[in-house]
Amino acid sequence: MYLRSLWVLTSKDLAVEFRTKTLFVSAVTFAFLLLVLLGFSVSGWSMYEVHSLPSVLWVLIFIAGYLGLNRQDDKERWDGALLGALMAPMDRSVIFYARVLSNTLFMLLVELVLVPMFMLVLRQSVPQVPMLFILATLLCTLSFMALGTFLTSVASASNLREIVVPILLFPLAIPLFLAVQTITQAVWYASGLGLLTAWWAVLGGYAVLFLVLPGLLFEILVEV
């Protein structure tokens, strides 16, 4: 029953997104523009300096991800659509998990476009340990979206949402950011892979922490 409700909600999100594509288009466009600007500022850099760029990829992804979260939230607000889900006969935490799931799927799609563009524009080679890079991307995207979805719900009643969400989200996401950029840098050039245990723990720990806690607290957050 739980899983069925989860799927109904997620497939609804997917349907909305495939119809409008606002999240995908806005996230990709924005990230691409940032990428081009970045391209200008690093155009004079030496090969050695360009080597430290892969970690910058995550600045783009975090910002694009935040934009996507915002869009998603707007849709839930139009004419009280979220209230309908709250009235439905299911545990309300399903709403949270469905959003995390759909947000993660969207973001992975965005990354699928963004990462090749990144390599192209900034003259980056392909990651030398692709499997680990993919694993880190999956884990980080899931954790970031869980954290972001949770904080969007936290701030949903705030009338300063546009500023409150990033100011809650980015500081709390710093360990995630440090972890993923360190791992990315290491797997891109296959150097220092053995030193990453702690960072993998951060990625995994964040995913667990922000998938479990919000599920327990969601009911408290959504009640009017």
Partner: protein, 225 residues
């Protein structure tokens, strides 16, 4: 024996009971010590001035807002996930997704309420609210009245036993007002209970079996109309 007694108790049980319900938001007492029950076959007209607490009361009854004090029972149980399926609402918000079509919206709700053959239910209701031809329109583009019809169909799809209506006829033309009235009446005759807010005195006289007035968060129980 025990089964028989259980059945009796359920039959006699109020659909919805509020005991000493208070709702305080900030420093405002939006509801003060509300005691109220909705029985099967009742159609209650809820009246009150702007800001008297009608909407708050309906939200509390729907389980969207938790009372500061007091208890709410639906069929003798506190409001939980499984109890929520007996409650249907038509509020000021249509609760529809603007970017989905009418059919997709209704299908979404039919599935959320775990209806068997959701497609059939949706087709039936599209027919009833005269939106079969507009079923594949994007909800955002509909007029207010059409959207209200979809909202009513959404609420009635799972055949709720308790129906909470906040200005349900808002934006409806005469023909669809009559239709909606007949559906609500039909549900009441089958043993459901309805609470509706309406600013139209004639409509309250015509529909309500009992009227209740709310003033400054206090509930004043009226007699039969």
């Amino acid at each position: 024996m025990s089964n028989y007694r259980c059945a009796r108790i359920v039959a006699n049980m109020s659909l919805l009971t509020l005991r000493n319900v208070c709702k305080e938001v900030g420093h405002r007492m939006l509801l003060s010590d509300v005691n109220f029950s909705l029985e099967r076959g009742e159609m209650i007209g809820l009246q009150g001035l702007n800001g008297s607490g009608k909407t708050t009361l309906l939200r509390v009854m729907a389980g969207l807002s938790r009372p500061t004090q007091g208890t709410i029972e639906v069929l003798g149980q506190p409001i939980t996930a499984s109890v929520r399926k007996t409650i249907g609402v038509v509020f000021q918000e249509s609760m529809l997704y603007g970017d989905l079509t009418v059919r997709e919206n209704l299908l979404y709700y039919a599935k959320l309420y775990h209806l068997t053959n959701p497609q059939d239910h949706v087709d039936l209701w599209l027919e009833k609210v005269h939106l079969s031809l507009d079923a594949d329109e994007i909800t955002k583009t509909l007029s207010k009245g059409m959207r209200q019809r979809v909202s009513i169909a959404r609420a009635l799809l799972p055949k709720p036993q308790i129906l909470l209506l906040d200005e349900p006829f808002d934006g409806l033309d005469a023909r669809h007002t009559l239709l909606a009235e007949s559906w609500f009446d039909g549900l009441v005759n089958e043993g459901s209970g309805v609470i509706f807010v309406s600013h139209d005195e004639n409509q309250v006289i015509k529909l309500a079996t009992r009227r209740v007035t709310i003033d400054g968060g206090y509930l004043l129980q009226g007699g039969l109309t």
